[in-house]
């Protein structure tokens, strides 16, 4: 079985907008979602900036009891999933829910809950740890929550491949649909870990920027880039086999043509010099899509704004795409929303679908002076219209995980 896989619903909760419409407008306009940290007092800390979702009130979406059962990453994920399912107009009462699955990625799951309960443990003892600690904290629990919400009894997965988890969750869902294991998949990623523990961990390994200028903090491919900005959010997609989507006359937003993965097998946190793993994941995705290199119209880069990632990613793009790289516009969504970790690939996937729909590429903001080692067309400061059939999106995670995925517009459907 070799089904075509299409996208019929999108949902997003991001630092530049809750809901697809506000995210789309903000992304195309190049809005910056980065500001001084509000989650805790970071005034005297080295890292002062993050990309938080400040207007998200769980009471707008959940009962008090539900809120008590969910870490924030789950709340963000469910809100995004609800929007995606609503937009897809799936009639859950009419379809066979045994063939509806869920695949969501996260880097660290409910680490905010872990931190809170650890404080209670250290202060008061074992008996004061919340009875719901485990089902709130587990990284797979978003998948479980979404399955319960929609009654989805098909395949369920929760990749935790760090910053590649969102793309991997979508990639796994795509394969399940392609090979006939499911007919519908709700897939994406969610992350919410802007807390002192995570910031300290990333700061002490020199991964985060210590910039105090929100507009010039996340500056991928800039010669003065100094690390990423931690962000939070969730992105969810409804994926279906083409046959299933056509049968129910769904509004098809785009298609997934291919997915590729590789592992650096090199270092816990640094990518291979020259980006060998990234070359492989991109090549695998393009092969899977049955495309030629020249048919890729744009790349949504991993583009974190760290010294090593950006250098190796650009090197990988230049090595694989050769002369086509000169004509290949590339951008970084992280320049606007920071690094959403396990949700980044999912929110960026939504960005790609919106770009294909609008035939318009969003800008890379923040970046001023392109690193002379990394000369590509980055759409600095301003997006622009482009003829877009296929966009490749990259996500790379600690542990050496490299994931690439190819999205196409709906013109042939």
């Amino acid at each position: 079985m070799n089904n075509r896989v299409v996208i019929t619903g999108l949902g997003v909760v991001s630092p530049i907008g809750i809901g697809l419409d506000s995210f789309e407008k903000a992304m195309m306009a190049g809005k910056c979602g980065i500001d001084f940290i509000k989650a805790y007092d970071a005034t005297n800390e080295k890292v002062k900036l993050a990309a938080e979702i400040l207007d998200f009130d769980p009471q707008d979406y959940f009962s008090r009891k539900q809120i008590g059962r969910m870490d924030r990453f789950v709340q963000l994920g469910i809100v995004a999933a609800r929007e995606a399912v609503k937009e897809s107009r799936l009639n859950l009462k009419e379809i066979d829910l045994n063939y509806v699955g869920v695949s969501t990625g996260t880097g660290v799951g409910g680490i905010g809950t872990l931190l809170k309960e650890t404080k209670k443990l250290m202060k008061n003892g074992l008996n004061y740890v919340n009875a719901l600690f485990i089902p709130k904290f587990l990284p797979n629990i978003l998948t479980g929550n979404i399955a319960i919400e929609f009654g989805a009894m098909g395949p369920s997965y929760s990749p935790t491949t760090a910053c590649a988890a969102g793309t991997d969750a979508i990639g796994i869902a795509y394969k399940l649909l392609k090979y006939g294991e499911a007919k519908v998949m709700i897939a994406g990623g969610a992350e919410s870990c802007i807390n002192p523990l995570m910031i300290a961990g990333f700061t002490n390994m020199n991964a985060l920027t210590q910039s105090t200028n929100p507009k010039k903090a996340s500056m991928p491919f800039d010669v003065n880039r100094s690390g990423f900005v931690l962000g939070e959010g969730a992105g969810m997609l409804v994926l279906e086999t083409l046959e299933h989507a056509l049968e129910r006359k769904a509004n098809i937003l785009g298609e997934i043509l291919g997915y590729g993965q590789s592992c650096d097998a090199y270092h816990l946190t640094s990518s291979t010099p020259g980006g060998a793993g990234a070359i492989k994941s991109m090549a695998n995705a393009i092969d899977d899509a049955n495309l030629k290199i020249s048919q890729i119209d744009s790349i949504n880069t991993h583009g974190t704004s760290t010294l090593i990632n950006d250098k190796n990613e650009v090197h990988a793009i230049m090595s694989l795409f050769k002369e086509h790289a000169i004509h290949l516009p590339v951008n970084s969504t992280k320049s606007m929303i920071g690094h959403l970790q396990g949700a980044s690939g999912a929110v960026e996937a939504i960005g790609c679908i919106l770009e294909l729909k609008n035939q318009y590429l969003h800008p890379t903001i923040g970046t001023q002076t392109i690193d002379p080692d990394s000369v590509l067309d980055y759409l600095l400061g301003k997006g622009r219209p482009e003829r877009l059939n296929c966009i490749l999106s990259n996500s790379f995670g600690f542990g050496g995980h490299n994931s690439s995925i190819v999205f196409a517009n709906n013109h042939s459907l």
Binding site: S63, R64, K65, Q66, I67, G68, R69, N124, N127, Y128, N130, A131, L132, P135
Partner: protein
């Protein structure tokens, strides 16, 4: 009376309910839709508050708010001896 008040408060906190929704005779599972995770939270909160043990086997005897109050009262009496 205080025990009843505290039991109701813990149920309110866990279930996100208001006080008028909980009476002495209210059935925890049938009327309030309390599940095993809710019950674990309620029992743990009462254990910590009264410094008593409420092991899982006690659950067999608890169906209503009144049952829960009685179990707490009995455990407090045992503690006195």
């Amino acid at each position: 009376m205080n025990i009843l008040k505290n039991v109701i408060k813990e149920i309110m906190d866990v279930m996100g309910l208001s006080p008028e929704e909980i009476q002495l005779s209210t059935h925890l599972y049938d009327e309030l839709d309390v599940d095993s995770l809710d019950m674990s939270q309620i029992l743990l909160a009462l254990e910590n508050q009264y410094k008593i043990d409420l092991p899982d086997e006690e659950l067999d005897h608890i169906e209503t708010v009144e049952d829960l109050v009685k179990v707490v009262e009995e455990k407090l009496k045992d503690k006195e001896y």
